[in-house]
């Protein structure tokens, strides 16, 4: 490419060139000044950047990174804390529920126990009454049954007296009815 440019220069040569043809970059009389100035400028730029400006840039970048990392750590810590609290709250709720259930169960058991007791008492009273009633019925029946024989003896005596004209003795009547 350089030689092509070279050709262009030669064909379109403008008058008054210091180097008289060729690449202007190859006019070596201008090299010394450029090299010296470049080294000077580069040295100054290097010192200014490395001592002054780049530490500030990297400081800002590091600071930002640290801040972001710190914020994320904070957020994570808060999240952990919140999770712990949520877990504690859940445990509390569960405990309260268990307590409530226990209270309810206790109340139910107590109530049913009381009911059962009351029922048993009632039943006992009723059974007593029933037994008394049965006893009185039995007594009444026994009494009635004992009267039946006397009535039968009387009736049989009256029938025999009517039929035969003479009264049968009590022993005969008893023997006939046995």
């Amino acid at each position: 490419m350089a030689t092509e440019n070279h050709g262009t220069v030669e064909t379109t040569e403008a008058p008054g060139h210091e180097g008289g043809g060729g690449l202007p970059q190859l006019q070596f009389e201008h090299w010394g000044g450029q090299v010296v100035w470049l080294l000077l400028i580069f040295a100054v730029l290097y010192v200014v950047l490395s001592k002054g400006l780049l530490p500030r840039v990297s400081g800002a970048i590091d600071e930002r990174g640290a801040k972001i990392a710190g914020d994320i750590a904070d957020a994570r810590r808060l999240k952990d804390e919140a999770e712990v609290q949520a877990r504690a709250a859940a445990a509390e709720v569960a405990e309260a529920r268990a307590k409530a259930q226990k209270t309810a169960a206790d109340a139910k058991a107590k109530a049913s126990a009381e009911a059962a007791e009351r029922q048993a008492k009632e039943e006992a009273v009723l059974a007593e009454k029933l037994a008394a009633a049965e006893a009185s019925i039995t007594a009444a029946r026994d009494e009635a049954m004992s009267h039946v024989r006397a009535v039968a003896e009387e009736t049989a005596g009256a029938i025999v007296e009517k039929l035969t004209g003479k009264a049968a003795s009590a022993a005969e009547l008893k023997a006939a009815l046995a």
Binding site: T12, P24, V44
Partner: protein, 253 residues
């Protein structure tokens, strides 16, 4: 058509007395357009970073760009050189920023410092001398192991050493010529196409079509040149890191 090479002509702006350095002779330290371009670029770097280097946790636009460029070179040094890259970051970053601002400055003003072979060659030599200096400081005489890769059979070693030495010596030249060639080529092409616009525009209606075509090419090429300006500065920084890595990690060579 205007001479497309005239833009590279060194012109004195402020005449200064030549300084005589023993052994080198008199050196003309006059402020030329090239020196002025370098000064301007360096000043812009400093001004830019003076404004961009802020402590704001939430960065503004300027600070974001400044930190992005810094992060770019930081990542480069870290990924190529590794943990020790931090030590060389200021050097690599200064090179990158300086070359980038010289390239970009050339897109706005009439003179591009990086289109001067004297400038790019000095930068290339600066890099390679730094590499040699770091190599010797870190490895002492073992630095020469750089030219003798391990695992090469004995009979072929002389040839490999020769090739390695030549490729090492050519590095400053390739660094310099790559940047120089890209900058010169881009600006010459821009100038020629811009010249076409004027030349064809004077030829009447048919010429106007050609001029419009040339003008759109100039617009497209200008965009391309902005990319090249950035890319070449980036490539310069990448290669500097690669060369530094060679001597920093000589043991694993």
């Amino acid at each position: 058509m205007a001479d497309p090479m005239h833009q590279f002509q060194i012109q004195k702006i402020v005449e200064l007395k030549p300084v005589t350095i023993p052994g080198l002779g008199a050196i003309d330290l006059s402020i030329t357009n090239s020196v002025a371009a370098m000064l301007l670029a360096a000043t812009l770097v400093v001004v830019f970073y003076a404004l961009a280097a802020r402590k704001a946790v939430v960065p503004g636009r300027l600070q974001t760009v400044g930190e992005m460029l810094y992060g770019l070179v930081d990542g480069l040094a870290e990924s190529i050189i590794g943990h020790e890259g931090k030590k060389f970051l200021p050097f690599v970053f200064t090179l990158f920023a300086f070359v980038l601002f010289m390239n970009i400055q050339g897109m706005f003003l009439v003179f591009t410092a990086t289109s001067q072979l004297a400038v790019t060659l000095t930068l290339g030599l600066l890099v390679i001398l730094t590499v040699v200096g770091v190599g010797f400081a870190k490895n002492g005489v073992k630095f020469f192991k750089l030219f003798a890769p391990s695992g090469v059979p004995g009979w072929i070693l002389p040839l490999v050493v020769l090739i390695e030495i030549v490729s090492f010596l050519v590095r400053p030249l390739t660094l310099a010529l790559r940047l120089f060639g890209n900058m010169v080529g881009g600006h010459v092409v821009l100038k020629i196409f811009a010249g076409f616009v004027v030349a064809l525009g004077g030829l009447g209606v048919l010429g106007w079509a050609g001029a419009a075509l040339a003008l759109s090419s100039v617009v497209a090429l200008t965009a391309l040149e902005f990319m090249v300006a950035f890319l070449q500065a980036f490539v310069f920084a990448v290669l500097t890191c690669v060369y530094l890595n060679d001597v920093v990690h000589l043991d694993s060579h």
